[in-house]
Every structure is written in structure tokens, then in C-alpha cells.
């Protein structure tokens, strides 16, 4: 069964037609990179997968999105339940003004989990999975704001992992970070692939080629090309894709 299956997706911000007939399939435990110039609809598409666009007034979608075979736009779907299956890491690190521990425990607590031991175990395990443990193990009760940007972003990843999603969406997770933090995040994505299906938006071509199995190239709301990453970067079918990845525009 496909983990993500988007069929004939069209999306509108009021009158603005932001996504045009997108069809995209993702298999389990794959990393898919979304690339394309700014404003082409990458974030919009990503936010469709956990229904984050529901928060914006006046938006409209047609077509369907299946996550593990389930139509997430079907009536009666509980959005909060969906978002526990499909986690999201944002472009700018956005920890809560709480302690490091409480940031990671948040998703568990809102899930109704109150077993202290379980929460503690899961928090530690998630921070370890996010490759942050050695840096924060002595200050779990300190404010998350005391961490560096790169650490905050890995904390946000840990926070997402704590709710054991099936899919992790990342919207330019390293764009606000320094090269060393970026490298750490990339390594992390490589690790996470074993357990999660990941979709990552990136502006960095090297990053896309390093971390992803498949790459989708978006342009002006259309998905121009979607193929194995190697093919996209060595032998793209479309001229537009080639121009973009070789840096001739975008």
C-alpha cells in the first residue's frame, strides 16, 4: 500500500489557483524531496498532507489525498488524529516557551497520555532519535529558548517523533541554520528514513540529491517532473527541470 497517494489535487487560495492537478505517490520509508522556485506551491502541497491549510480562510481543494489508503479529506476524519499520523517540522524552529522536556512531552500530553514513566521514556528516546541527547541531557528542564537554532530545530524534530507519526513533513528544515547544523539534520534524515516516510521541501540542490530517494520538481503550481532523485539530477526529462537544477533560474 502506498503511504502517500495524492490524486488530481487542485488547490485554491480564494481565487488564486496554487496547485494544478498534482498526482504524486510515495512508498513507505522513502524520502521525497520537493524542489522548485519560491512560490511554486511546495509548502502549499506539504501542508495539504496534514491539513494545515484548513487554518487559512477561503481555501478550497479538489481531488483526493490518501495516507495509507485512508482519504484524509473524507467527511468525519478527525484532523487532530490525522496530525498525529503526519507530523510536521517547520522552516523556522518554533519550540514552545517551555522546558526542553515539556516541548517533547507536549504531543504526548495532548494525546491524553499521563503515565509519567512512559512519557519520560518516550521523551528521552525521541531526543536520542533526533541526535540531540548528548547536547541536552543535563538541561532537560531548561528553557528550549536557551538552545541554538540548530538545536532548536532538532528539538522540534524530536517533538514530532515523540508522537510516533508514520509520515514526517519537513518544510525547508535547514534553511535557517548554519552549515554544521544543516549537516546534522541531513544525517538525521538519513537515519529517520528507516522508520518514517519523509517528505522534505528544500531549496538546496545538494541537499535534495544527498538525502532523498525521489524528487518532485514543482513550477508555477504544477508538478513538472517526479522521478528517482538520481534521474532528476543526472538526466531529467524536462528542460525546465534541467534549467532549475543547473541553476539557470530559480
Amino acid at each position: 500500500m502506498l503511504t502517500i497517494d495524492a490524486k488530481n489535487v487542485d488547490f485554491y487560495y480564494s481565487e488564486f489557483h496554487a496547485l494544478k492537478n498534482i498526482n504524486l505517490e510515495v512508498e513507505k520509508n522513502k524520502v521525497v524531496a520537493l524542489i522548485g522556485p519560491s512560490g511554486c506551491g511546495k509548502s502549499t502541497f506539504l501542508r495539504l498532507l496534514n491539513r494545515m491549510n484548513d487554518l487559512i480562510d477561503g481555501t478550497r481543494m479538489t481531488g483526493s489525498v490518501l495516507i495509507e489508503g485512508k482519504d484524509i479529506y473524507a467527511p468525519g476524519i478527525r484532523v487532530d488524529e490525522l496530525r498525529k499520523e503526519v507530523g510536521m517540522v517547520f522552516q523556522k524552529p518554533n519550540p514552545f516557551p517551555k522546558s526542553i522536556f515539556e516541548n517533547v512531552a507536549y504531543g504526548l500530553r495532548v494525546n491524553g497520555i499521563s503515565d509519567k514513566n512512559f512519557i519520560e521514556e518516550r521523551v528521552v528516546q525521541s531526543i536520542k532519535s533526533a541526535a540531540l541527547w548528548d547536547e541536552v541531557k543535563d538541561k532537560l528542564n531548561k528553557s528550549a529558548f536557551a538552545l541554538s537554532g540548530g538545536q532548536q530545530q532538532r528539538l522540534c524534530i524530536a517533538r514530532t517523533l515523540a508522537i510516533s507519526p508514520k509520515v514526517v513533513l519537513m518544510d525547508e528544515p535547514a534553511s535557517a541554520l548554519d552549515p554544521i547544523s544543516t549537516a546534522k539534520i541531513e544525517e538525521l534524515i538519513y537515519e529517520l528514513k528507516k522508520d518514517y516516510t519523509i517528505m522534505i521541501v528544500t531549496h538546496n540542490m545538494q541537499q535534495a540529491s544527498r538525502v532523498s530517494d525521489k524528487t518532485a520538481y514543482f513550477y508555477l503550481g504544477e508538478m513538472i517532473e517526479y522521478d528517482d532523485t538520481i534521474k532528476i539530477f543526472t538526466n531529467p526529462k524536462e528542460l525546465s527541470t534541467q534549467n532549475y537544477i543547473t541553476g539557470r533560474f530559480g
Binding site: N50, M52, L55, D57, D80, E81, R83, K84, G87, M88, F90, K92, N94, P95, F96, P97, Y106, G107, R109, V110, N111, C156, R159, T160, I163
Partner: protein, 398 residues
Amino acid sequence: MQVKRFFEKLIEGFLLISGSITSITILLIVIFLFKEASGLFTTPVVEEGYVLAFNKENPIKHLNAYQIKQIFDSEISNWNEVGGKDMPIEVVRLSDLTNYYTEEELGAEFEHIPAKASELTAKTPGIVLFLPKQYVAKKFDGILLDHETIRPGDFFGGKEWYPTSTPSAQFGLLPLILGTFWVSLGAILLALPFGLAVAVYLAEIASMRVRNVLKPLIELLAGIPSVVYGFFGLVVIVPFLQQTFGLPVGETALAGSIILAIMALPTIITVAEDSMRTVPRAMKEASLALGATHWQTIYKVIVPYAKSGIMSAAVLGIGRAIGETMAVLMVTGNAAVIPHTLLEPVRTIPATIAAELGEAPVGSGHYQALFALGAILFLITMIISISVELISKKKYAK
């Protein structure tokens, strides 16, 4: 060019002058307030133009305002209750002299009163004589209590406010400050939960359309003159309370609280809502993306994040309640007694000033006591503004 520079200089000078004048005026008002207020403590406890006289053998040297009142109200009848010997108190007013002396003895023109008053004081060990100064003999045979002034304890610890009682006016702050406190506390307890609920609704739940209608409407509430609120309270709330609780009168602390709550709502709602709207989108999205419901996000992220703004809203609401005069004056019944429940009439500090300043003779103890109330009110509101300042500073330091 020259002319333009000249005008700029002129305007600059003008702004400087108006700024300084404003500051100086405010400073002068405050100085005036406190100067008049401090006069209270140089006012004699005994009514202007009168003295109290005791027998020479009486060891009593001081009586405070409240003790004098109790003695003359026969609530105290033995000197040992005010620290003297075990001896009954014999209260004598000027008019009581006829009980001791015939009219002939006092003289057709009362010319013998000074001598007789002195004589009576000398021969009555337990006497306290309340006498106009003009009848005090040159060689008065007794002790005169004429230098005693109102002490801070009489004011700050005084339980009674009878500014016109004789022989000793009672300027006790407690009933008024407690009245203010209870009315304001009631108001804030009513207004805060409701105001926050509306703020949450407007900031998070209402659609753009509903919000665009409600917000200006609520802000409009803040502009209604307080007499109108008072009138509404008098006509609607007071009779309602009287019937619901079966009270002898509906003008109670609770009526004041309800009116003040309504008046404080726009402030609380506006400030709290504004602070909730400043919660970054990223915070809300982070919470929702972790599977939190909208309500969980509201009480776990939005409200804590907007905490300092919400606290400012509460404190500003209290400030509005404490300083309000007119509406409270109209619905609280204005009884200057220490309230035990919210269903009793009370009187607040601002209402007292407004109601009594017109009838207090300039420079009298009563007049100065009202200024002292003003000074207290000024201090309270200053503390409130400073705490708002501190709370909102904390927000930005975070």
C-alpha cells in the same frame, strides 16, 4: 531659509514649554493633594472652637477621636476602659450645665458660665466637659484637652466615617477602603472570567465577520458615560437584586460590582484579545501539528503565551473599577460601614469624595480628610499602573 529655521525653533520651544507645563501641573496637583491631606494630622480631634476638660485628679492625658466618640455615645462609661482609674465617666455638655446650676447662677447673659464650669470640673472627679473655648475661664481649675490632634492611627485604622459628628468627627479609612476593595474585588471576579471567555472567543473562534462586528461594538461600550451605566444599574440591577435576594434595599456592594464589571469588560476584552492575537502563528501551528485540538491549543499554548497581556488586562480592569465614581455612587447605597457581605450597602473612596467635597468647609478637618482619601486613591492607582508597566515589561524581556 532663515524664517523657516526661526519657525522650527519657535515650534520646538513651544513643544518644550507645553511639555514642561504639563509635567509641572501634574506635579503641582500631586503636591497640593498631599499637602492638603497632611493637614488632616494637624487638625484637633475635638471640634474646632471647643475643648474637652477633665478633673485635675484624672490621670488621662490623651484621648483619640474614636474614644471621644464612644464616651459621648455612652459606649464607654468608665475611665478604666480608656486607660484611666476605675471611675464612672460623667459626660457634661454645655446645655447640661442647667442640671447642675440654676439659670440665675449661670447669669442672665451666661456671664458666670466660665466660673461655674471651672468649679464643676474641680469638684467632679469623673467629669468630661465639652465646652466652647469662649467659656473657658482664665484660671480654669482642671485639665484641658486642646492640643490633641488626629493621629495617623485614627485615620488609617479608624473603623468609622462620621465626618460631621460632634464633639469628635470620625475619619476612619477602613469602611471606605474595604467598601472600595469589596466592590472592586466583586467586579473583577465577575468581569475576569467573562471577559477572558469573550477575548478567547474573539481571538480564536469567531469568524472574521463576527469579529468585525463585535469588536467595535465592545469598544463602543467603553465610551458610554458612567452616569448612563449608573442609571441602568439603578433602574435594572438594583430592583433585580432586591427581589432576587429579598433585600431591604437593592443598593448594595454587589450592584456596584455588577455595574463596574460591565464597565471594566471592554478594557479587559480588548487588552486580552490583543495579546492573544500577538501569539505567533508558528506557536499555534506547532501545537496543532502535534495533534492538539483547537481547545488544547488555546489553553496550553495561546493563553500561557498571552499570560502577561491577560494579567495587564486584569490589572487595568481593576484600575478602572477602583477609580470609578459616578456609577458606583448611584448604586451602592453609600453607607459608610464596614461591609460583611456583598449584599450590604457600602461606600467607596471615590464616591465619598464626590458626595462630600461640596459640603465640607474649605480647610476643615473633613475637607482635609477627603484630600487624604484622594491621596490614597492616587497611591492605589499609581501602584496599579506601575504593576501594569512591570508586567508588560516582563513580556518583552522574555
